[in-house]
Each structure stands twice: as C-alpha cells, then as structure tokens.
Symmetry: C2
Subunit: 358 residues, 2 copies
DNA sequence: CTGTTAGCGCGTTCAA
DNA sequence: TTGAACGCGCTAACAG
C-alpha cells in the first residue's frame, strides 16, 4: 500500500473529492441554483416541497457540504473573526477567549486565535495576513502603544475592536476592565489595614493596563496620606521571573522597606513571595502582598493571595458582541468597561510591628 | 454622522473596498495574470524585472492584499488547520496550542482553535463545519471514545491527527504522552518511599489518558506487592470539584485508608488536598498525594505537589508536524509518543506511622 | 417555482 | 515575456 493507484501518474489522491452543488444537481437532473436555494434556509421557500426533499436526500446521500470559501467570494463574508493575543501562555487570556467563542457561536461565526508573542512586527504581519484571509472582524487583545497605527489602518477595512489590553486615543471601540478602579481597591485595602509605607512592582508601562493600575494605586495612596516608596524598577514583561527580580532589587536597594506591596499581576506577586520565602521574610506578617487577576490556584498557594478578579469571560463576550454589532452595520458602537472585584485573602494583613528597616 | 452617504440607498459601506489583482493591472495597463505572476515568488521569474518592480510598487501603493479564500478555490488549499480542544479552560491545553501554533507558523499555515466543551454533538457539528471551511487538516485534541466514527469519517476527506487525548484503534496518527509510563513512575515512587496501601482518584474512563494512568499505576503497584485499595469512584470530569468529591467519599467510606493517593491530574489532587486540610489531615505526614500534568503554580502551593510533567508544547508541535507532513502527501505517517517526566515535590514522603484507620 | 447567465478573485493553460 | 480565456463553487439577478 505504498503506492496509491487511483490517479495514474500525478500526486496520489488519497482523499475523497467533495461533492459540489453541481454534483447534487446532476444527480437529480436539476440546476445548481435550485439546489443552492433548497439548501439555504432563507431561500428554500422558493423551492417546491417535493423537490426540496429530493434535494436534501441527495445532498445527504452524496455527502454534500457547502464550500464556505467559495460562498464568501459572493457574499463578502467569511463568517470568521480573529482574536489576536499577545501570549496564549498567559492564563488570564483563557477566559477571554472562552467568552469570545461563546458569543461568536451564537452567530455561526468561528473565531481564529492567533498569537504575537508581544512582538510588534509579528503583530503587523498577522493583521495583514488576517485581512488577506478576509476575516470579518478583528479583536486585538495584545496591543501595545506602538501598534496604534496598524490598528487604525486595519480599521479602515474591517471592524476592529481593542480588548483586554486597552489603548487610549484609538478610534475603535475598546472593551476593558476598569483597572484603575481595581488598583484603587487594593490601595484602599492597604490603607484600611493601617499600612503607612507601601510600594508597587509595576508591569511594563507600554501596556495600558499597568499604567492604569499605577495611576489608580498612586492616586488613592496619596489621597489617604500613605508614603508611596519608590518602585524598584519596572518589569519588562509581567512574569514570575520579573516579579522575583523586582523584589530582589527592592530588598537590596538599601531604601526604607514598605509594609505592603502591590504587584501588578499575580505571577509577579508569586515571584516576589518566592524571594521573600527564600530570605525568611514572612508574608503577611513581615510584609503584605497583593496581586492582580485572580489566576487559577491563587487561592491555594502557600499563602493564599489577595488579588483583584479579572472578569475575563465578560471581556471576551463583550468584545465579540461589539465586533458582531459593527459587522451588522451598527454605527458608533460604544466602548465597554467591566468592573473588577476585589478578593481579600491571607497574603495581606495589618502591619505587625515597626521593623521597617532603614 | 448617523447616516453614511457613499451608497445611495443600501447598506452604508463604511469600509474601504480592497484592491484586487485586476485593479493593480488596470492601474498599470497590464493584465491580471501578469500581476499574479509578478507577486508570486515561485513564478515571478516569468516576469521582466522592470514590470515586476512597477507591479510591486503599484500593489503597495493601492494597498493590494491577496485574497486567500479566492486563491483557495483554485489551489484547493486554505492554509488553515484546526485544533479542536475539549476545553480551553484546561491549563494543560495551552502549551499544546502553543506548540501547534509554533510549528504551523513555519509553514504559513494558520491554526484555528475550536472548543467542544466535551460535548460529542458539538464535536460532530464542529468537524462538519470545519470541513465546510475546507481546512487543510484537523488536529483532534478533545476526543472521547464515542467520537471515533466521526474522526474516521473526516479522515477520508482531509488529514486528521489525534493528539493530547489519545484514542486506540483509530486509523489516523496519534500524538500522545506515555501516560502509562508516567503513572508507573508515580507508583514506583510510592513503593520506593515504603508505602504499602495506596489508591487512586481516577479520571473519566472514556478519556484514554486516564485509562492508561490507571493501567500503569495498577501494574506497578501490583508488581511491587502493594495493597491497591478500591478507588472511591470515578470523576465525571477531571476537575477540582470532582477531586474534592472523590476524596470526601474516600474518607467517609469506612474502608481502610491508604497512606498515598495518586490523583489522575493536578486539579483533582489539589481538590483532594483542600478536603484533607479542612479535616486537619496533614499532607504529606498523614497522607501522600501525587497529581499529574505539572500545571503552572503547583510548585507554589501550600504543599508543593509531586506530579508528572506533561510536555504539552512537544505534543502540539509534533501534532502539527504530523498534520503538515500528511498534507504534503507523505504516506503512512507514524504516531508519536512523548516521554513524561516525574517531578517529586513535598506532597509525598515516607509513611510516618501506622495510623491506617480500619 | 425553476433554469440561465454572470461574476466574485484568483491561478492555470494555451497562444501570441 | 505577456495576454486572453477558462474554471474553481457558489449566489445574485433576471427570464421564463
């Protein structure tokens, strides 16, 4: 069986050719148009009940399947939207994709999921490729500031929605969580617990989420009269490793130590805690730590993490909904802002004593 | 701006029409075929260098993008493969998708990611839909036993690869991790630690992974002469909640208690540990727990989890590679089996005393 | 109700 | 080296 025999000389065709409308029509001595009409729910009333049934039976028998790319050539729609993420390894993205898929399914639209690895060059190529595929709409979930131009450019051809990572000053609808509010809740929590010197481990400032978290945290900390100690730097990428690095730098800076630290996401928080544990510094007794996102399992860590729940599913659902409404021709579709939820756990408590080292 | 004005009565066309080959050709007083040739790297040698450059410049200027669906009508290829997962919420799937994307990118193939929610009806519909979209290949990552027929049927039309969740007796290549081996390593670890009475919290038996884990664990436990206590039942779905349920049932069964438990995945293991903690039973002192998959963060749990690393990226990469090779016409493409890695952590230790309750 | 014709955008084939 | 004609599978528009 090393040689296929069904085509004399060329590439062996091991796969069955699919039946077309013409095949079904020929089988019944009908015209392809009639078959097309009989098989389309919105037009099958133009076909007599008897021939319609014959057609349906024949289509079934011959294993007919509509050819969506061919159809899209006429209709201009591919029934496809694409969600472009920065990194599928980010657990926070999963519920967002889930929400997108859920809303799309209702419309018979299929989401394509693509990944940029946070590389702007990849982003531009990917958008270009997706336009070539004639996707009906694009949901940009991995935007950085420098991607604005590419987004505006794509938005002249198809509906584009920015979600997950917001972007300011962009002319397309944005679906986001109120990260400023989420960070404000963390700061208020620190203040309520009686902390007086706090700091943050900031994420990269070209991702708007982290800018908003910074702003929200800073504003409430200032308002409540706490000391906002200088951050030890900024993460290049918001990962476990970078959380470790920033916490190490904080400890080794020789600056006054805070009694509470807001890490801009859970992974960084966990990285920070791992450094503290290595050095015998107790969380939350010696230092309180809060994260952001409420990743899976943060409730089951050695020290369950105080964090802010990121309602990813809702974001994805709203993003797909927005795209689909634009696709339907709705004008001036509004941006959407979803509320985060503060989740206090064991990693934060009142300051135990004044061993703030100088 | 509530009314678009560029089309008299119909739907407002707010989006720019894309340029076609014919547009570029007309702009230059050339024929579309020439433009087509000039823009295809494999045929542009048939065009004089000067006109080629004029064409490339004009295409750029007019914003020409190839229309992939239209092209697929001629070539029969859509440059698309689909990965069908049971549940994107499963963190173990993410690296697999990552691997698929990574291998596909090399080929210019774009992976579509779809989700069945472990519903066989959805699975069948989805496969049907993807065949309608003329995807070039299908990677089935969420197969249950009852899906075999649908898989075989699809495999007559396009290359199909089963991955992640293996399926036995299927005529298509399977890319899997040696779960039997992984479970054997867990059992051997228990035996080496001196445990004498062990059991497992099994996942659903219509997912082959769990059958293999059961077989591997059972065989080594028997071989090494340990008591294999009756499992408290079987999880409907391999989740945190089901892990809790099984552990509760084990504790309340009145049967002799094991000193070590193998949960068929990490989520179930963590669920089980949460029940033990509630009841004041210490892990690993009173009871050892092992999981499977090495999910993110399992190293940072209250009690870091002994587990088996699931090399998801490799599985995804190999699955895409297999699909692409089939697509290239390669015959009798072989199945692939990737080796798991045992990861001992703090949740397992030697039995501390004989407080096995009767 | 059904058939005919045309064309979506592209690549292929044959001619020039 | 370039052009013209055709057809992929489908739907839209018009005839009958």
């Amino acid at each position: 069986m090393t040689q296929a025999t069904d085509s004399p000389g060329g590439t062996p065709t091991r796969y069955r050719k699919r039946a077309t409308l013409a095949d079904v029509a020929a089988d019944l001595g009908l015209n392809a148009s009639t078959v097309s009409r009989a098989l389309d729910p919105s037009r099958n009333s133009m076909v007599s009940a008897t021939t319609r049934e014959r057609i349906i039976a024949a289509a079934e028998r011959l294993g007919y399947r509509p050819d969506i790319p061919a159809r899209s050539l006429m209709t201009g729609r591919t029934q496809t939207i694409v969600a472009i993420a920065a990194n599928l390894g980010n657990p926070t993205i999963t519920p967002v994709l889930h929400g997108v898929a859920s809303r799309s399914a209702i419309e018979g639209v299929v989401p394509i999921i693509a990944e940029t690895n946070d590389d702007s060059e990849v982003f531009v190529d990917l958008v270009d490729h997706m336009l070539s595929r004639r996707v009906d709409a694009i949901i940009v979930m991995g935007a950085r500031r420098r991607d604005t131009e590419a987004i505006e450019s794509a938005a002249r051809l198809v509906p584009v929605v920015v979600a997950f990572r917001p972007l300011l000053g962009v002319s397309v609808p944005v679906v986001m969580v109120d990260d400023r509010k989420g960070a404000e809740l963390v700061a208020a929590h620190f203040a309520d617990l009686g902390h007086e010197a706090v700091t943050q481990l900031p994420g990269p400032s070209d991702v708007m989420n982290f800018v908003l978290r910074d702003e929200g945290f800073t504003s409430v900390v200032t308002e409540r009269g706490l000391d906002l100690l200088l951050a030890p730097g900024q993460a290049e990428v918001p990962t476990f490793e970078e959380g470790r690095r920033l916490m190490r730098e904080l400890l080794e800076s020789g600056n006054p130590m805070p009694t509470a630290v807001f890490a801009h996401n859970d992974l960084m928080a966990i990285g920070a805690m791992s450094v503290l544990e290595e050095r015998g510094i107790k969380v939350p007794d010696d230092i309180s730590i809060a994260g952001y996102n409420d990743m899976a399992l943060t409730a089951f860590l050695a020290c369950p993490l105080t964090t802010v729940r990121y309602p990813g599913w809702d974001v994805g659902h709203a993003a797909a909904d927005t795209a689909i409404r634009m696709l339907a021709g709705e004008e001036n579709v509004a941006s959407v802002c979803v509320e985060p939820v503060f989740v206090p756990r064991a990693s934060t408590t009142s300051p135990q004593n004044d061993k703030t080292r100088s």
